[in-house]
């Protein structure tokens, strides 16, 4: 069976330029890590939400209105 990336390439999309496929070797198989093309992704179900990592400890904190003493 042809892999996900190969199917995209067969449709004319270019690896790394138009999409980034990834397999985390966790048994879930390949998925589209990043879709870069201006065209719609032909396999939207294969697009997995980006992995969110906590910001670096030295990054500015998010604005918290509740903690803001300016009123409103």
């Amino acid at each position: 069976m042809t892999g996900l990336a190969e199917q995209l390439i067969a449709l004319g999309f270019r690896c790394l330029d138009d999409f980034v496929c990834q397999d985390d070797s966790d048994g879930r198989g390949p998925y589209i890590r990043e879709w870069k093309s201006d065209q719609l992704c032909p396999f939207p179900e294969a697009v997995r939400a980006p992995i969110l990592t906590p910001p670096p400890s030295d990054s500015p904190p998010f604005f918290d209105p509740a903690a803001d003493g300016s009123g409103q």
């Binding site: 892999g3 996900l4 990336a5 190969e6 390439i9 690896c15 980034v20 496929c21 990834q22 397999d23 985390d24 070797s25 966790d26 390949p30 890590r33 992995i51 990592t53 906590p54 670096p56 400890s57």
Partner: protein
């Protein structure tokens, strides 16, 4: 600011020039330079991991695929996860990592093959080649970083060209090392 060096084994007496006196909790002790060097080496986190001869097969073409490393030659600091996530999470400080992989199947002349270090699940450092002959390709990457204590590092490979690829499992062909420097 004074810092305490603990867990040093005190020499019984200062008998040579290459010995130093330290004071621990008011008690004067002597240690040798060799003891200090041994302590410093063992205190730093370092690991070496490999696949213990098991090939990683069926890697999809044009897909960044995480390499698994189920065997550890050593793991000072117990910071390498060789069972679930196959990643190194070193203590805070400067670290250097190296990874090498041999891809043995699905190598297509003119296609790109890459190895990458991922930091916190994102591509961080990579190295790539174009295959000039069919057969095996040998990929390697080395990088230096200043880890914050929660940063983690993984190895991914990518092989273009049609067909699935295999990674050779021999410990001398595919491995992942890291150390504090």
């Amino acid at each position: 600011m004074a810092k305490k060096i603990s867990q040093l084994v005190a020499a019984s007496a200062a008998a040579a020039a290459n010995e130093y006196e330290i004071n621990e909790a008011g008690t004067s002790k002597k240690v040798t330079g060799a003891q200090v060097a041994t302590y410093v080496r063992s205190a730093g986190a370092a690991f070496s991991a490999n696949k213990n001869g098991t090939n990683q097969t069926g890697i999809a073409a044009s897909t960044f695929t995480k390499l698994t490393f189920g065997t550890k030659a050593f793991d000072n600091g117990a910071a390498f996860d060789n069972t679930t996530n196959h990643r190194w999470t070193p203590p805070a400080g400067r670290v250097r990592m190296s990874a090498t992989a041999q891809m043995s199947t699905g190598v297509v002349v003119g296609s790109v093959y890459a190895i990458a270090l991922y930091k916190n699940s994102s591509l961080w450092k990579s190295n790539s080649i174009y295959a000039t002959v069919a057969g095996d390709v040998y990929l390697s990457v080395t990088a230096l970083d200043n880890a914050n204590g929660t940063d983690f590092y993984e190895v991914f490979v990518l092989g273009a060209g049609a067909g699935t690829k295999d990674i050779v499992g021999n410990a001398n062909a595919t491995w992942f090392d890291g150390e504090q420097v």
